[in-house]
């Protein structure tokens, strides 16, 4: 194995992995606060990508400028989904039901996207999409670097919101224990709704980078959601740092497997890593092992 391949895999792991980490953070945040597994996260990433695509094709708005529109738009989409469907789920089977409800939502969106945009693959365009620069023998695509910076900025903003604001404190309190949070006067329902919106809003940015680095259509969401779920379980469900680490690890391992054996095995490697890690740590890398888990 040569050093350049190793360095390239490490670079991809960090650059692309951070974008996956951003999308997965939304998912793990929603799970941690609400006990909701949002299967629709995959299709919402694609919806975010298509929003950027529509802005680009119809109004010639640059991808990064477009985020100023798509991020708030996806936030609203998240709030609407939470208000219409998720908030109605009650009872002990809530988490299991949430999988089915969000899957149904995802089918609705998939059908809608197929009708509006057809099933042909598209990719987002921009001068930075096709160009790259090199350090030594390792090539850096501008879009990947931009994606990394964007993910870093948004994760930083998310971190700031969670750890430095009063609202973030209520989110973390709800993460730790919903009942106690409600007892100290936190409006858990409102926190849940906003958290869901925030968790979905990040898909706009993730989707834009995904759409610029991959050709996609609505059915790309299956591949995405399986990766995102793998990342949050590997990191430990509900753990924000875990999602970050697992996102980078996944892409790194996938790339290494691609270099050493063959690219056809790289997507398989995510799932094998997941199964192996769970044999050793059933709660995931950074998950908390609590005494009673539903």
């Amino acid at each position: 194995m040569n050093t350049v391949a190793l360095l390239s895999a490490a670079k991809d792991g960090i650059l692309t992995g951070s974008v996956y980490a951003l999308m997965a953070t939304g998912l793990t945040l929603i799970f941690g606060v609400m006990d909701i597994i949002n299967i629709a996260q995959g299709i919402l990433v694609i919806l975010g990508a298509y929003l950027s695509y529509a802005l680009q094709v119809h109004w010639h708005i640059d991808l990064f400028v477009g985020l100023l529109i798509t991020i708030p738009a996806m936030f609203v989409v998240g709030i609407v989904i939470e208000r219409l469907f998720i908030g109605r789920l009650k009872g002990p089977e809530r988490t299991a039901m949430s999988i089915l409800v969000t899957y149904a939502v995802s089918l609705l969106i998939e059908g809608g996207l197929n009708m509006v945009f057809s099933v042909n693959d598209v990719q987002l365009q921009g001068w930075y999409v096709t160009r790259s620069f090199a350090i030594g023998q390792v090539h850096f695509g501008y879009i990947y670097v931009a994606g990394f910076i964007l993910a870093g900025v948004l994760l930083g903003a998310l971190y700031f919101m969670l750890y430095r604001t009063r609202f973030g404190m209520s989110v973390r309190a709800s993460l730790a224990d919903q009942t106690s949070a409600a007892l100290v006067g936190i409006d858990v329902k409102r926190v849940s709704t906003i958290t869901f919106g925030v968790g979905i809003a990040v898909t706009a940015a993730g989707g834009m980078i995904y759409g610029a680095t991959n050709a996609f259509n609505a059915s790309s969401s299956y591949d995405l959601i399986s990766r995102l779920l793998t990342i949050i379980v590997l990191g430990g469900m509900g753990s924000l740092g875990g999602a970050m680490f697992a996102g980078i690890l996944m892409v790194f391992v996938g790339d290494m497997v691609g270099v050493i054996w063959s690219p056809v095995w790289s997507s398989l490697s995510y799932f094998v890593v997941l199964v192996l890690v769970l044999l050793w740590r059933p709660q995931g890398l950074f998950g908390k092992q609590s005494a009673r888990i539903a």
């Binding site: 799970f31 006990d35 109605r88 089977e93 999988i99 939502v105 089918l107 609705l108 779920l229």
Partner: protein, 344 residues
């Protein structure tokens, strides 16, 4: 009471048995074969996931394993293309059970939420392996021996074998429900820690249930492979399959005996019908998703439980009404009480 209930079951299965006699149009009997296959799978899924509360979204692993067992054995053993192939249907089920033991051992080390995701991950391992390994034929799939019996009655034998599987799994499911083992599964669903505290060997019970439920799904996969004649990784390891059978069980009533059968009958038949009639995939996705949401929001307990609650509530009301009529009139009725109060 029990007699009357059993009679209903006989009538229902009798009607299913008469279907190919009454309906001869191959378009509809094909829909019938797919529907009966899904009825068997949904019931089998419910026997573990419905009773234990561990929602598995990777049953296509067993379906695909059964299908590939059928295809690979029939090809490599050079089997004659006739009803002998039906002998491989239970073999497909057994292979699926063998697969289920290590998968269950790994996936059931964690609790419910994570279990769901691991079953999805295992599913993708199988799908990607089927695409990438050589012996499965990759994305070009495998062709089974071409069945020789005539076109006109082609569907009928498949339908009855499928019906046999459905009856078999319904009986097993009913027996499990009444057994000590079934009660242990239900105890796990209600409170796993307490069940463990009361001496239920939870891990052994869960793995056993998981393995048992794999059999019929594998056998159904083998039957499917024989029925369609060629298999592709993306159709036998289909994520829609995983979610569809879960949805069928939820629609009918999770953990009930008749729920998954009813759910599969409604969903699969309507799906096949819509596909045949409209052949618009996107419209179908929207209709399916919308139906799904309506059911979960308005009947979260499923159709069977919903109707049962209504019936028992009405019976209760009638009983209350009868009791009220029989009872002697109370000395002071509320109306008089109000009137008295008004004179003050």
């Amino acid at each position: 009471m029990l007699q009357k209930k059993n009679l209903w079951w006989l009538v229902a299965f009798g009607a299913l048995g008469l279907f190919p006699v009454l309906v001869t149009n191959p378009t509809y009997t094909t829909i019938g074969v797919f529907t009966i296959i899904f009825m068997a799978c949904a019931t089998s899924w419910n026997m573990f996931s419905g009773y234990s509360g561990y929602i598995a979204l990777g049953s296509a692993v067993f379906y695909g394993s059964g299908a590939y067992t059928m295809a690979l054995l029939s090809i490599h053993l050079h089997m004659a293309a006739g009803s002998e192939l039906f002998a491989l249907v239970p073999v497909g089920g057994l292979v699926a059970m063998v697969m289920a033991v290590p998968i269950g051992w790994i996936a059931l080390r964690v609790r419910r939420h994570t279990f769901v995701v691991i079953t999805i991950a295992v599913f993708f391992i199988f799908q990607l392996s089927a695409i990438n390994f050589g012996f499965t034929g990759g994305t070009s799939g495998l062709n089974l021996p071409f069945i020789t019996w005539g076109f006109q009655n082609y569907n009928t034998p498949f339908y009855y074998v499928g019906l046999g599987l459905t009856i078999f799994v319904t009986l097993v499911s009913a027996l499990v429900r009444r057994s000590r083992f079934g009660l242990q599964l239900l105890a796990i669903r209600d409170d796993e820690d307490r069940a463990m505290g009361l001496g239920v060997k939870v891990t052994a019970v869960k793995i056993t249930g998981f393995t048992m439920s794999a059999f019929t799904v594998g056998a159904a996969g083998a039957l499917y492979a024989m029925f369609v004649g060629q298999i592709y990784p993306q159709f036998v390891f289909d994520p829609m399959f995983d979610v569809s059978i879960a949805l069928m069980a939820f629609l009918g009533g999770l953990g009930t005996l008749s729920g998954p059968l009813l759910g599969a009958l409604i969903l699969e038949a309507s799906q096949q019908y819509l596909t045949v009639t409209y052949s618009n995939g996107s419209l179908y996705l929207i209709l399916f998703g919308a139906l799904f949401l309506v059911v979960i929001i308005f009947m979260p307990q499923g159709i069977v439980t919903f109707i049962r609650d209504r019936v028992s509530r009405r019976a209760e009301r009638e009983r209350a009404a009868v009791a009220a009529n029989d009872a002697p009139p109370s000395p002071t009725t509320p109306v008089e009480g109000v009137a008295v109060g008004g004179t003050h």
